[in-house]
Amino acid sequence: MGSHGIKDRVAIVGMGCTRFGERFDCGLDDLIIEAATQTYEHAGIDRDDVDAYWFGTAQSGMSGITLARPLGLQDKPVTRVENFCATGSEALRQAAYAVASGAYDVAMAVGAEKVKDSGYAGLNAFPVPSDGTGRTLTAAAMFSMVAPAYGERYGVDEAAMREVLARIAWKNHYNGARNPLAQFRKELTTERIAGSPPVAGLLGVLDCAGVADGAAAAIVVRAEDARRYTDRPVFVKALSFVAGNGSGLGDPDYDYTHFPEVAVSARDAYAQAGITDPRAELAMAEVHDCFTPTELVLMEDLGFSARGKAWEDVLAGVFDLDGALPVNPDGGLKSFGHPVGASGLRMFYECWLQLRGEAPPERRIVGERSLALTHNLGGYPGEMVSFVGIVGNQPG
């Protein structure tokens, strides 16, 4: 028994990502075609050259046919994947494992979501027939409970906490303003963020990720084949996934200041990749900033900050674009919104651009580091799934 990972056995050789936003002009099929077409072009292949497909969508469609139809796939295995908000990451994870297993030479992960078609604010879970006793809270409310709990535990008063949270949103908006694919491309002052209309607890509208449509995709091949498709492949170093069992909700010891599932998946990913000091070794990280307190706590669960110190690191600019470890250089969920099936792949897309030196100069990360991390979670404090992926532009 053991989690061994597939370090350097699989490489990403093509990626694509649509503009995220209110894509009322596009249906799910349009978004899929846009992302997939870019991806084929980067890899220099077409749809028939891909041996198997994994399609991530939380609730925009069901079955592999939702992907096979718009792409006109002929006799291809297509698997629809759903794993809460980590759906896009899960699609890539399955495609990578399929190639690593030797079952297929070329696999493709596509994630897409049409959130704006629902007509509702925020994301909505697919209704499963139930006894009616489940929580009906929004994700914003569940994550809002993190802020006072963290403040209480580490002695951060409400005013200081408000500043920290605004600083996180400010940074992500600053980065997103430099990304033509982002939904929101505007810098915002911390004052405006802190004063935005209340949604839940301490959180205002501008503490929350946007609601957007979008799609992203990746093609993976065996590492030794990678240079046949591109001269700058991105190698998979680690793929880790943990599905919590929900016990945190009923655990009197759980205090809403950390996400155990994230810490475990991070530990596993670092072991797979051979990373011992993530803050020093990673060039950048894309993390699941669904709400500002989430990103705060993730800095500690991912080992970027010591426990109780992330708020100070945030204020010190450690995670800014020019900081010691840039976090969400593409603008994050804050700027991109969160089309559930696409978000995990969108995170990899930023790694792809940065590690290949293709990010536009205004947000390009400079330095010698060759590793990038993505973190994608779904669910709530006490009851979540967590994905951590690590990729690098150098084999070995």
Binding site: S118, G119, Y120, A121, G122, N124, P127, P129, S130, D131, G132, T133, R135, T136, L137, T138, A140, A141, M142, S144, M145, P148, A149, P198, V199, A200, G201, L249, G250, D251, P252, Y254, Y256, G382
Partner: protein
């Protein structure tokens, strides 16, 4: 039609039953009223519309309550408030009466039965539709056998500015009727009489939001003679004189006829108890039970109490309080509940009663409950029964196969909380807390009967049975937490 001539329909006294069941003395084992938390100041009605209203307040059931959940709360109180704290008395049957049922066709008493976790073999029956069914069920239980839990409940309102709107109230009562062998009686049943006649006084067609009433004077001419007759026959059945009655509890939605009848009984006006009109309002089907419960809380041993109900006739039930009334400490007295109410804005009241429709959050409404899933989790959903882990710590919801533990009566403390301004709720915002129960167990749960700005970590809460939502006509019942009345905040 008139009654068949030549055979006076005298009331039945306990002596008649003693002949059948020699030693038993029948009466009231336990009684409790439940008054929901919110109060509407009647002056707010006039301030809004320039009409209607009046002095004082009326009780208001929350948006997440209906007559069934009000009934559950009353029944929980009556079971907690056993005669001398000597455990929960057995219940042989559950009867539920309301003029405002949450369901037709489906038995509303079944949900109460489930919330109380009564035995499967205990029957649960509805007495539906008529206002008179409340006092009628009580009389039937007193004249019957076995320990019968009689729950009556009502929510009264009318069109904005109407007398029904301001004079009405929401509330429930639970009276456990039984023999002295079922537990020490709070009051012995001395006898009863009823007078019935068909006449049009007050009516409502099924589905209508409001009742209608004929002009007052006509009904008054009917209730007077009917009341005098029932009173006379009830006194005879009890073997007492009017002067022996120390406490008259008179109630009817025909307020004028009720006042007039009370004056005709030959009982000093000081012995007619407060009908809670200025504080609670008239809770219709529930009011006889509510006032009786209140009277028993104030009674002295040996006191004779006459309950007089006017609704399509007149019913008179006569009791004598026992020594147990002074030993008994009510779980939560009617008076304490009156004192603990908090205001509700008139606009909120109107939206809660569907008189106006407010813009909902732009979130999907809840899906309907699955009958099969709800059926599988009856213990949890209706009874709030958790399970115990290997260390004996409660787990909520319960884990399949683990030993069960009832949690509905366990108090808890707020660990953390939030206010959700986006989530769908029939009355936003949702106030939501993580609570730790005394004796162990944690549960994230919605709060109710709470003002968002007053919640604090450390507040003490108790569980309360509520209707979360309704979809496809199916009511989704489950539990919420509410601040424990009287528990100081932030301790």
């Amino acid at each position: 039609m008139t009654a068949a001539p030549g055979r006076p329909r005298a009331g039945l006294g306990p002596a008649d039953w003693r002949n059948l069941d020699s030693a038993a003395v029948r009466g009231i084992v336990s009684a409790a009223g439940y008054i929901p938390f919110r109060r509407l100041a009647r002056a707010d009605i006039r301030a809004t519309f320039g009409a209607g209203g009046g002095a004082g307040t009326r009780s208001v059931a929350s948006y997440d309550q209906d007559t069934t959940t009000l009934g559950v709360e009353a029944a929980r109180l009556v079971r907690r408030g056993g005669s001398d704290g000597g455990g929960v008395p057995a219940v042989d049957a559950l009867w539920f009466a309301t003029a405002n049922p949450a369901y037709l066709d489906k038995t509303n008493a079944a949900a109460i039965h489930a919330a109380l976790r009564l035995d499967t073999a205990t029957p649960a029956f509805d007495f539906g539709g008529a206002l008179r069914s409340g006092i009628g069920a009580l009389r039937a239980a007193l004249d019957g056998r076995g320990a019968t839990l009689v729950v009556s409940s009502d929510m009264r309102t009318g069109l904005p500015t109407s007398p029904d709107e301001s004079a009405g109230g929401d509330g429930a009562a639970a009276i456990l009727v039984g023999d002295d062998s079922d537990g020490p009686l709070l009051a012995e049943y001395l006898g009863a009489a009823s007078a019935t006649e068909e006449f049009i006084d007050r009516w409502r067609t099924p589905g209508a939001l409001r009742s209608k009433a004929w002009e007052e004077r006509f009904g008054e001419t009917k209730y007077g003679p009917l009341g005098e007759r029932a009173w006379r026959e009830a006194l005879a059945a009890a073997g007492i004189e009017a002067g022996d009655v120390e406490s008259v509890v008179a109630t009817g939605l025909h307020a004028r006829a009720t006042r007039a009848l009370a004056r005709m009984l030959g009982v000093d006006a000081t012995r007619v108890v407060d009908d809670l009109a200025t504080t609670v309002g008239n809770t219709g089907t529930a009011h006889a039970g509510l006032l009786l419960a209140s009277a028993l809380e104030l009674a002295t041993p040996g006191q004779v109490i006459a309950l007089v109900g006017l609704a399509d006739g007149v019913d008179v039930l006569i009791f004598r309080a026992t020594d147990a009334v002074v030993r008994r400490v009510p779980a939560r007295s009617v008076q304490s509940q009156i004192d603990e109410g908090a205001p509700v804005a008139y606009g909120t009241f109107l939206s809660w009663r569907q008189m106006v429709e407010l813009e909902p959050p732009r979130r999907p409404e809840p899906a309907r409950v699955s009958a099969a899933a709800a059926g599988r989790s009856e213990d949890w959903k209706f009874g709030f029964v958790g399970s115990l882990d290997e260390h004996g710590t409660p787990q909520l919801p319960p884990v399949p196969g683990a030993r069960r533990v009832p949690m509905a009566d366990a108090p808890a403390t707020i660990v953390t909380f939030t206010v959700d301004r986006l989530a769908y709720s029939p009355s936003p915002p949702i106030v939501f807390a993580v609570v730790d129960f005394d004796g162990g167990g944690r549960f994230p749960v919605e709060l109710t009967d709470v003002d968002a700005e007053k919640v604090a970590i450390g507040d003490r809460v108790e569980m309360t049975f509520r209707r979360l939502s309704t979809a496809d006509g199916i009511h989704n019942y489950f539990w919420k937490a509410r601040p424990i009345p009287g528990a100081s905040e932030g301790e």
